[in-house]
Amino acid sequence: MTRTVVIDPVTRIEGHAKISLYLGDDGKVADARFHVVEFRGFEKFCVGRTFWEMPGITARVCGICPVSHILASAKAGDDVLGIRIPPRAEKLRRLMNWGQLVQSHALSFFHLSAPDLLLGMDSDPAKRNIMGLIQARPNIARSGIRLREFGQKVIRLLGGRSVHPAWAVPGGVREPLTAEARSQIKRLLPEAFDIAELALDLLKDSYDQFNDEIHNYGDFPSLYMGLVTADGGLEHYDGMLRVVDAEGRILQNAETITYRDFIGEAVEPWSYLKAPYYKPHGYPDGMYRVGPLARLNICDYAGTPRADRELRQFRRHGQRGKPVSGSFHYHYARLIEILFCLEKIEETIEDESLTGSHVRNYAEVNERTGIGVSEAPRGTLFHEYKVDRQGILQSVNMIIATGQNNLAMNKTVQQIARAYIDGETIEEGVLNRIEHGIRLFDPCLSCSTHAVGQMPLHVQLIAPDGAIVDERVRD
């Protein structure tokens, strides 16, 4: 008996996907798979072009986190040139990255998650969106919009006119920061701080209502990966690549260029998302999580006063000194990162050397391989280019945050389905919960599969014999 119910459009997920839930013999959901069905041969498209063009090209292809791709691509380009970029350019790139993190996390929290958190997971779907939030809690909705604008403003002040600024380039950045832009950022900071603190209060106040969710929304042991500074602090632009296990033990603390030694990429027939895993643990046991939760789990400390204070509270959600394993806490981690980024922006903007004009170094192709790793809002982003002597790309490989969280997202969906699906029908409420579970990871599906079109959210419940027991399509 197959039943297809068409319900409201998904307006809050940045990308769509098909989800299969497999029932076990006990009639409970045993496995979940996230299929990503559209694919654009992006990596192939770049082959034959020069690596100098890549920041601009990747920014255009991924509309969801263009800044992250520009930065990873520019860094891979620096590596091909084999040079050190001017210190000022590095500070400016970091500044843009922090701006990107603030705007992206603000979007995730206020626009995509706050409706669920503040209006309730089971509230009327027609109102459980940013418009509904504007009606019910206008101040909060407006604050979210303002905070996002702050991040975007930082990006725009640095990158200039364009929305997808190909501003970071191999060798540095194209334009310096003007004194006027610097003081604009300074003026806007206090309000941004207030909003970040407000968001933290809101989230923490709502925690009591979500006891079930905290335990059922992707709470499981896994590895965590991300960048840390040379001495173990929170890091988003450069540094060491660290892998930590579920007990909190550091398994790797390696130079980013060695990532291939311990990260493998599995390809699954059911998804175009590559599924990276930690090689020493094999596939799929080497599942790891990236993104805000992972970054806060792997670092020894944040490195700014307010964020460190929050980090200590955050860590109480982990069991006895272990990493925080509940994916629900991605929300919390995101807000702490916003605070951290604002503090870093505040600190950097005071740097007198920031506005000088030397921001780009030039060189020819010196290395035939270039690797650029940085932290996108959603997690670690890898760009690896192989070029010929002239700089023409021979191959391009990218590992994207959402791909790395693929296995963890499956597991989260599975947990939610197990907890909230009883019997053989998919209730409306469950769909919301699945959606929220996926949203914890803030996936950028169109980016990570390089798809241009839109994918519907399509959930199927499949019996052990392969029969589709129930099905729901959201278009």
Binding site: T50, E53, A166, G391
Partner: protein
């Protein structure tokens, strides 16, 4: 210098004998699109964008290579001409791989400009999507055949101004390709003096400085008049204040 009189868009105008139709038309303040033509280089009549219509016979003639003659009467923007110009532009886009958003000349490209001016918002023909290489073997410059419109300005400037004749055209029709020396990688060319004139006159993102990133390439044409005035008149005066050149 004898004066001639003729009619452009139903207006009587006068010019000098031997003057090209194009220059006479532009003297009247009429905007006529051109791509292969560049002031200072020999007119070729290749792109056909500057076609005008003879009132008497309805014949179409390229204004850049046609000499203005006493008693001529032409139209520059008849419905048919505008339609053809748009077709020509669409065909140019369909023939190679133009992705303006990631092009080094985005925002300053003559092809893109002409398309925008004529209101071309999409291409009605199937794209040929040819597989074309980039040649980045030269130390300073790169050519991306995906963006070449075969205007042959590079061939012309290299031959007539620099005197190196490094560039040429190989093949026929849509398979034509500009080449350096006898189709050797540009970097191994022995005739190329690396002066960069070809790069500067190229109307699109086909020729660019190596290492240029998206929308970063700026081209200047003012050196052309400078060299030619110096050569022919022994006069060295920089016109237009040395600003970014156009036509």
């Amino acid at each position: 210098m004898a004066v001639i009189t003729m009619t452009i868009n139903d207006e009587l105008v006068s010019g000098v004998e031997g003057q090209s139709l194009l220059s006479l038309i532009r003297e009247q303040g009429i905007e006529l699109p051109t791509l292969c033509h560049l002031e200072g280089l020999e007119a070729r009549g290749g792109c056909r964008l500057c076609l005008v219509e003879m009132q008497s016979t309805q014949r179409l003639l390229p204004a850049c290579t046609t000499t203005a003659q006493e008693g001529m009467s032409i139209q520059t923007h008849s419905e048919r001409l505008v339609r053809y110009r748009r077709m020509i532009l669409e065909l140019l886009f369909a023939e190679r791989n133009h992705v303006c958003a990631v092009c080094v000349m985005n925002g300053r490209c003559e092809l893109q400009d002409e398309a925008a001016k004529i209101g071309m918002d999409h291409v009605r023909y199937d794209y040929l999507v040819p597989e074309l290489p980039m040649d980045a073997t030269h130390d300073k410059f790169a050519i991306d055949h995906n963006r070449c419109i075969l205007c042959t300005r590079c061939v012309s400037v290299c031959d007539s101004v620099e005197g190196a004749h490094t560039w040429d055209v190989m093949g026929r029709g849509v398979n034509s390709r500009v080449i350096t020396d006898l189709n050797q990688p540009w970097g191994s060319s022995r005739s190329c003096t690396s002066c960069g004139k070809c790069v500067q006159v190229c109307p699109t993102g086909a020729l660019a400085n190596k290492g240029s990133t998206v929308a970063e390439m700026v081209k200047r044409h003012d050196f052309l008049q400078w060299i030619l005035d110096g050569r022919e008149k022994k006069q060295w005066v920089m016109h237009n204040g040395g600003s970014e050149g156009r036509r």
